[in-house]
């Protein structure tokens, strides 16, 4: 029944029972929050509030407060948008694609990775909305009947495809996450003593009872959602890349963009998962559930996708020369030797060179090394978007209109602010929600738990 090759490393360490799993995950929620949580929450909230302030200032004044100019019409706003969407790619990839491939190690990380996805997509969604300047007109992107007669949104435009892609991705990820959470909320509901918490978890658990038929439906719904979320994950970042690829700007107009963006998104998403989980496992004492093996698996994904990204960078560079189009080729020469060369080479170092270190088994199993690389990758992926966006447009066809982009305090404030808001959401999640998928972990205890794997009387 519960056989698994003995050679595979156990995924759940120690001598755990079903009750231990419940305890290990629920206890930190029931206990008082550690002081560190309050410290981090306060810092994140202050930064987040500063971000909200800068956004309000922007909405009140207009997007002229950004450092954009006539030549560089898109800069940090879209850079941040693509960066956040990219980060938001790991969660649903982990829970959907890895579910289809029956990867059991996903169960320790899928819940928090999905939470990360949802919060990251929230942050991403902010940028196109505030870029409108008049946020209250945001509903104009929807195909609604209006007073102006036959004025419809343009369905030929990749920007509109993006509206549909991002909103579908956000809402489907949210539903997928919540459906998995319902049984775990029920566990909390039946455990907590505090009457207020009991009421809250009661409400959140929707009266889940764990009947055989409910579980039967649960498994199918998870599978079907995974099945349709898988192409969704790939489609979303492909469509984000169409925002650039379908334009006629040298440096953007490349057919390699969709796969290259998807690989980059998975790459940065996994890096962010590592950053968050390495801290989370320590803070919540979940070392038995998220350990070297999980980190190693994720590092392999980072290594593979990082290499795909590296190949894409070099292909792009080669094709720009091989195409014989001088504008195209200048866009790339300017990237690596122009005024933004420092950004290009930071990107190359962070994204192409650093993941190659993961070929060494010792390094990819080292938690500290992984943590450092995960942050390096996140920085590198931000630079990637910055390089693609700003260096392609700051020197256009007419040298008299060449210019540079300098971020203003508002540009910086909004970017830093979204990082603060993201951590506010994530810390709240870690405080009140079950951070591991309890019901799923229990199903693999007998096959992948350390004490069960090595027990002599295993049937």
């Amino acid at each position: 029944m519960h056989k698994e090759a003995a050679i595979r490393e156990p995924l759940i360490l120690g001598h755990k029972t079903y009750h231990d799993i419940t305890n290990d995950v629920c206890q930190p929620i029931e206990d008082k929050a550690p002081r560190m949580w309050y410290v981090l929450f306060t810092i994140a909230a202050i930064i987040g509030l500063y971000g909200v302030g800068t956004i309000l200032y922007l909405l009140g004044t207009g997007i002229g407060v950004w450092g954009l100019n006539k030549t560089v019409g898109w800069a940090w706003d879209i850079t941040n948008f693509v960066w956040w969407v990219g980060i938001g790619h790991a969660g649903t990839l982990i829970s959907a694609v890895l579910l289809l491939f029956r990867q059991k190690w996903r169960m320790a990380i899928n819940r928090s990775a999905e939470a990360m996805t949802i919060f990251a997509v929230f942050m991403a969604g902010l940028f196109p909305l505030i870029h409108m300047g008049r946020l209250w007109m945001g509903y104009w992107v929807l195909p609604l009947p209006n007073q102006l007669g036959s004025l419809w949104v343009n369905f030929n435009s990749p920007l509109l495809w993006d509206v549909f892609a991002i909103s579908t991705y956000l809402s489907v990820s949210l539903v997928f996450w919540y459906i998995g959470l319902i049984p775990d909320f029920a566990t909390l509901r039946d455990r907590v003593k505090n009457p207020l918490s009991k009421r809250m978890y009661s409400l959140l658990s929707f009266g889940w009872s764990g009947r055989a038929k409910q579980w039967n439906r649960f498994e199918l719904v998870s599978l079907v959602l995974a099945g349709i979320a898988t192409p969704l994950v790939f489609s979303v970042h492909s469509i984000v890349s169409f925002d650039f690829a379908t334009s006629v700007i040298p440096g953007w107009h490349t057919t390699i963009f969709p796969p290259y963006f998807v690989a980059g998104a998975v790459f940065s998403g996994f890096a962010m998962v590592q950053t968050l989980l390495l801290v989370l496992r320590k803070a919540m004492k979940l070392e038995d559930y998220i350990h070297h093996k999980h980190v190693e698996y994720m590092n392999i994904v980072i290594m593979v996708t990082g290499s795909i990204v590296g190949v894409a960078y070099l292909t792009e560079l080669f094709i720009s020369w091989y195409s014989g189009v001088e504008y195209e080729s200048y866009a790339f020469i300017n990237r690596f030797s122009g005024p933004y060369a420092w950004a290009y080479w930071s990107m190359m170092t962070c994204n192409v060179f650093s993941p190659q270190l993961m070929w060494f088994k010792k390094l990819r199993r080292s938690l500290l090394f992984t943590f450092i690389i995960s942050i390096v990758v996140n920085i590198g992926m931000w630079f990637e978007r910055f390089v693609i966006i700003v260096t392609s447009i700051h020197r256009d066809y007419l040298p008299s209109s060449w210019s540079m982009f300098y971020p203003t305090a508002i540009d910086i404030g909004i970017f830093i602010g979204t990082i603060g808001l993201f951590f506010v959401f994530f810390l709240l999640f870690a405080r009140f929600f079950p951070v591991l998928a309890l019901n799923e972990l229990k199903t693999i205890l007998k096959s992948s738990g350390e004490s069960f794997k090595n027990a002599p009387d295993r049937n």
Partner: protein, 178 residues
């Protein structure tokens, strides 16, 4: 209607499954199983039919596909064809390539959400519903099998509890319904 419900509690999913097999072989009808996680292979034993939600998801997806097609055909072809750089926009077929991404997204959107709503409705899991598991431990590490006297006419109450006790239970609770 007077009835008696037996709640047999187990602390292992495999013991429950073996027990259920034996009971069913003896002709006992098992009404329900409550567990903290899906017990693989229990459904055919206790006679739970496989859900048809997958079929519904497919139909919902088709609905989305159809709506997106009709919608975009109306907006972009019938009502107000847009000339975007002279690209063909006279018929739906000519313009369809540009509509693929949204058609796909809308198909997924409808399939995922409508299936999830159906799932919640069919499960009767909705905000504000009260939990119906007989024991709070069934969402932690215990497994409960529910047998009703009224659905097992050929056995007496004592016979049922005797048979349940042979299956490795750790607790047996009974509830009278009036």
């Amino acid at each position: 209607m007077a009835d008696r419900i037996f709640y047999a509690m187990y602390d292992d999913d495999d013991v429950l499954k073996d027990g259920a097999k034996k009971l069913v072989a003896k002709g006992v009808k098992i009404n329900e199983v409550f567990s903290p996680f899906p017990i693989h292979g229990i459904d055919p034993i206790i006679g739970v039919k496989h859900t048809r939600l997958g079929i519904m998801a497919f139909l919902y997806g088709l609905t989305g596909l159809l709506l997106a097609t009709i919608g975009m055909r109306f907006f972009m072809i019938t009502d107000w064809p847009m000339n975007i750089g002279g690209k063909p926009s006279q018929t739906y077929l000519q313009n369809m390539l540009a509509f693929i991404p949204i058609t796909f997204e809308f198909t997924v959107l409808c399939a995922a959400h409508l299936m999830s709503i159906t799932y919640l409705l069919r499960n009767k899991t909705l905000p504000g519903r009260k939990a119906e598991n007989p024991d709070p431990r069934t969402t932690d590490d215990k497994f409960v099998m529910e047998v009703r006297l009224s659905e097992n006419g050929k056995f007496s109450s004592d016979e049922i509890s005797a048979m349940l006790k042979e299956t490795g239970i750790i607790e047996l609770n009974q509830k009278e319904l009036n």
